[in-house]
Symmetry: C2
Subunit: 148 residues, 2 copies
């Protein structure tokens, strides 16, 4: 119990597992969830760009998009200017899944942080955010299919 790093690793694992368990109810993996969120925020992207945003390897992205498409949450459409690439679009069903998923995520977070007061949760969030920002100095460009 001595090291903060150990506590961090332990709780991180707990949080990830608990979150994955909730998403499973929606038929989503953590990777699918991450990709869906990025598509919702950024608009249609190529698989390569999606991989850069989510940290998913291009070869792993194939099966991730396969799964999302099989569930009707995204569509592979033709890229307007590059016939090698796909433009991955989120569907209406995808947006609905996101909405339900966000509710589940809120519930999961509520359970996870139950031992802390509102003020303590805010403290924890800010401390973690500063650590995450410090460890992520790489600027990822989005490579959107349609410019915003």
């Amino acid at each position: 119990m001595k090291h903060t790093g150990f506590l961090l690793a332990r709780m991180g694992h707990v949080a990830a597992k608990q979150f994955a368990g909730r998403m499973e109810e929606l038929g989503l993996t953590t990777r699918m969830w991450g990709a869906l969120n990025v598509l919702d925020a950024e608009g249609a992207l190529t698989q390569q760009a999606l991989g850069k945003c989510t940290g998913i390897d291009p070869s792993s992205m194939v099966s991730t998009v396969d799964d999302l498409e099989a569930a009707g949450l995204v569509e592979r459409r033709r890229h307007p200017s590059d016939r090698r690439a796909h433009a991955i679009h989120i569907t209406e069903q995808g947006r609905e899944a996101l909405s339900r998923g966000r509710q589940l995520a809120r519930g999961a977070q509520e359970d996870l942080l139950a031992p802390l007061s509102a003020q303590e949760r805010k403290q924890l969030h800010e401390l973690l955010l500063r650590l995450v920002i410090a460890t992520k100095p790489k600027g990822v460009t989005t490579d959107q299919v349609h410019k915003k």
Copy 2:
């Protein structure tokens, strides 16, 4: 960047990977490190007991102890009263590895928490500790080979 649970999972992963990288310099995996620490704190244990303390599956414990023994950090000795079981003893070399490892761990933690002030680190530690305690309601009995 919205959810605290997400930040927790992200930083936990970073912390675990960074720690594993440091321990690799000593030829140790995270599992070997965990087992070595428990043996140092609790005295000689059976592989089963060691598995319960560290959360390592009995079958995985075999190779973990194999690796530790090959590195000269522990010894499988005869259990005084149960000829099925081994008594795993930490060696002098094992204690030296622990000592060096603890230095590395301090350095790793220093790097990880560099963005935070001393007071903020203490805050973070206490918040995480309360979360960890809340998610771990199971009392593990040690099953020591020699009573203390």
